[in-house]
């Protein structure tokens, strides 16, 4: 039973994470990455359990009651390390996505990808040609509206 619950939880987390990573919105992509790394952490914790259905081999969190049971402490140490690292990287990724928005004026990945790499020469000189129509897809109206709205909000802030 515990096996099934954990497997379902892991599957759901990975599915949500993958779904978010494939979005066009940078913030959602970062959320997706964060969820996937949390799913990996959960997976790591489950690796310390016997998951046999036998209470003696399973972890205390799964079969409350008996006091003489131990979960493998090593995976918990690993997960702690991984959580700390994940915290740092997620914070960095969020700051970076704000910076991307500041520099490019958009958090839409398709818009970002369609603006060509400029290089230092072009940056110093020519104005940026913002070519490339966002490709049509279902989420377009939702995503396409956001940069404009954010621009307005941003203008107020400064």
């Amino acid at each position: 039973m515990a096996e099934l619950v954990l497997a379902l939880a892991l599957g759901t987390l990975f599915a949500i994470g993958t779904f978010l990573v494939l979005r066009r919105d940078i913030v959602r992509v970062v959320w997706g990455v964060a969820i996937i790394s949390q799913a990996a952490n959960l997976f790591l914790v489950t690796m310390g359990f016997g998951l046999t259905g036998d209470p003696a081999a399973d972890a205390p969190v799964l079969t409350a009651g008996e006091g003489a049971m131990y979960a493998d402490p090593l995976v918990q140490a690993l997960v702690l390390t991984a959580i700390v690292i994940g915290f740092g990287t997620t914070a960095f990724a969020l700051v970076l996505s704000y910076r991307v928005y500041e520099e490019n004026g958009t958090i839409d990945l398709v818009d970002l990808a369609s603006s060509p790499f400029e290089g230092p020469a072009a940056r110093a000189g020519e104005a940026r040609a913002d070519g490339g129509e966002p490709t049509a897809d279902d989420g377009r109206s939702e995503v396409a509206d956001r940069p404009a709205a954010d621009d307005a909000a941003d203008g107020g802030d400064h």
């Binding site: 990996a40 790591l44 690796m47 090593l74 390390t81 970076l96 230092p120 940056r123």
Partner: protein, 593 residues
């Protein structure tokens, strides 16, 4: 043998990073410390290399907090890791000196030097560790600082490239955690040597080796992502374009090679021990190949795609940095190709040559590609552009820089007196010895593409008549307007533009538009490429030693703990058994001293 020398490079790099952070308010002192630290790192690595050479086993082990073998983290220096460390030390010293001149005051205020040395810490740790989870941690240390360094210019291109780089690598880290968790659950250990021992005799430890194949395939994805091999190469061009030149040099020269090292270490030393027969359609995998019968063809396909598509991509690039970045993808194909051949070759001699070829090629590529990126950085610093259409005639205005670039480029192509010749020769030799005509054809096609893009870079950027920007920079240099510290964000471009109107014709009177320190750094790498090519024997001996060390799983296991190498100790399972093992280990180590 146990030795504290193993952590010397690690401590030096870490100490330098901390000192660089502490001296943030005294930029001059920070710069001096950064270079001194990089120098001390070279000394530390040299001491370690010597100690490993003098050791009868050729392997030095450091136990963190003195915890024994499989229970604690061990750091192991063997000929394979020291060869990679030596490459890292040389490249990082040159790039550190280069950075002092290249990174401006603003960049320094943003802790450039501290980040740079932290990246070196991560590289060092990843090369030395003997623990799979610890490898993950060092990868993260290395990547965290490289994320910031890629985003360093923090303009629209750099932030975009850094986001791409960070998201891909964060996903990679999650996959790596998955693989490590699975490996722990399957084999019951994280220690590489212990894992190799358990995989070698799965029934004795109650391990089913079949899931290890899938888990190690997941792990391979992560390493190949770090190395930038073809299906995982997306981040390479943008990140290399965005990062400051010395960082790009270290990323391409050293950080990529950590991925290569991890593939050699884990797949040839650890996973190769598992007696699992894998057969793919069309591949005759015997039991002596084990897992490698599966990874050989996979690596071969990826290496082929990298060498061919990377080469084609490089030919089409509009700018030098893009060209070199795609060239990096193509060259990593050349490094993976002999590894793929070695994986499917059963004969130990062919395996040794294959790994040695990959290592020599790694050293050659590490030095040559760093040189080329540094040279392009120096040109960009003077001219403000790396677009091939803006460049041209650099031989007239920067002769020494052009000479250094030419040596690096020729070494990539593989012209006889240079290191690159022997590297290519060994790749071809591996293919011939293994009787793999397909690999030979791929190597040949890749070599032809290398000639094509190197020729294009040389013809467009260095020969011909100087472009307007080159002209402007030359004039500015002549009138002395272009003095002052170099700035990483292309501040020189403005000066060049200002001087455009008064461009003179007598470029011949200008000795060099490039900064002498930057030119000196590139030149030192060029001299090294020539020297290693002429005196190739030590490098070849080192690479062969490293290859032999990588293939000698038993010696690796024995070095980590003499007790666990013996098959006498079965897995006790309970606490009592573990205590017995620990006591036995302690007794054995007491005898050893």
């Amino acid at each position: 043998m146990t030795s504290t020398v193993v952590i010397a490079p690690l401590l030096v790099a870490l100490g330098t990073a901390i000192l660089a952070l502490l001296t943030r308010r005294v930029p001059r002192l920070q710069r001096a410390l950064s270079v001194a630290g990089a120098g001390a790192y070279v000394v530390g690595v040299a001491v370690l290399v010597r100690a490993v050479r003098l050791d009868p086993d050729g392997r030095l082990v450091y136990r963190v907090s003195n915890w024994d073998g499989p229970f604690g983290i061990v750091l192991i220096a063997d000929p394979l890791s020291t060869l990679m460390l030596a490459l890292a030390a040389v490249v990082s010293l040159v790039a550190a000196v280069y950075s002092v001149r290249f990174v401006g005051r603003e960049g320094q205020r943003l802790s450039y030097h501290a980040l740079y040395h932290l990246m070196v810490v991560g590289v060092t740790g990843a090369l030395l560790t003997g623990d799979v989870f610890n490898l993950f941690v060092w990868f993260e240390v290395m990547l965290m600082s490289s994320y910031v360094l890629v985003a360093f210019a923090s303009d629209s291109d750099a932030t975009r490239a850094a986001l791409q780089y960070a998201v891909l690598n964060l996903l990679g880290s999650a996959v790596m955690l998955l693989a490590i968790g699975g490996l722990y659950a399957t084999t019951g250990t994280l220690n590489m040597a212990d894992m190799a021992r358990r995989l070698a005799d799965p029934t004795a430890f109650g391990i089913d080796p079949a899931p290890v194949l899938g888990l190690s395939a997941l792990l391979l994805v992560v390493f190949l992502l770090k190395a930038g091999v073809m299906p995982f190469q997306f981040w390479v061009p943008d990140a290399y374009r965005a990062a400051p030149a010395p960082v790009t040099a270290v990323l391409a020269g050293v950080v990529k090679k950590v991925g290569v090292y991890a593939v050699v270490r884990l797949y040839f030393t650890v996973f190769a021990a598992a007696p699992l027969t894998v057969s793919l359609p069309g591949i005759s995998g015997g039991p002596e190949l084990g897992f490698l019968a599966f990874f050989g063809p996979v690596l071969f396909l990826m290496a082929t795609a990298s060498a061919i598509l990377g080469g084609l991509g490089a030919i089409d690039q509009p700018d030098m940095e893009g060209l070199l970045a795609y060239s990096s993808i193509a060259q990593i194909g050349f490094i993976m190709l002999p590894l793929a051949v070695a994986a499917t070759a059963a004969a130990p001699a062919v395996r040794t040559v294959g790994i040695a070829a990959a290592l020599v090629y790694s050293v050659n590529h590490g030095l040559a590609k760093s040189l080329l990126f540094l040279a392009v950085g120096a040109a960009e610093d003077a001219i403000g552009s790396t677009r091939l259409s803006d460049l041209g005639g650099l031989t007239e205005v920067a002769p020494v820089l052009s000479g250094a670039f030419l040596i690096g480029a020729l070494s990539l192509v593989g012209i006889p007196p240079l290191t690159g010749f022997f590297a290519k020769l060994l790749v071809f030799d591996t293919a011939v010895r293994a009787g793999a005509p397909l690999a030979l054809a791929v190597a040949l096609a890749g070599a032809i593409l290398t000639i094509a893009y190197v020729t294009r870079a040389w013809n467009n950027a260095f020969w011909g008549s100087p472009g307007s920007r080159v002209h402007a920079a030359a004039t500015a240099a002549r009138t002395g307007r272009d003095d002052g510290p170099a700035v990483a964000d292309g501040g020189h471009a403005d000066a060049a533009d200002d001087a455009h109107g008064t461009a003179g014709d007598d470029l011949a009177t200008v000795a060099s538009i490039a900064d002498p320190v930057l030119v000196g750094c590139t030149l030192s790498l060029a001299v090294l490429l020539v020297a290693l090519g002429i005196g190739f024997d030590p490098l070849y001996a080192a690479a062969t030693d490293a290859a032999a060390a990588a293939l000698d799983t038993e010696a690796y296991v024995r070095a980590v703990d003499p007790a666990i190498a013996g098959d006498a100790i079965a897995d006790g399972g309970g606490t009592g058994g573990d205590q017995d093992v620990a006591e036995q280990l302690r007794a054995l180590r007491g005898d050893g001293r």
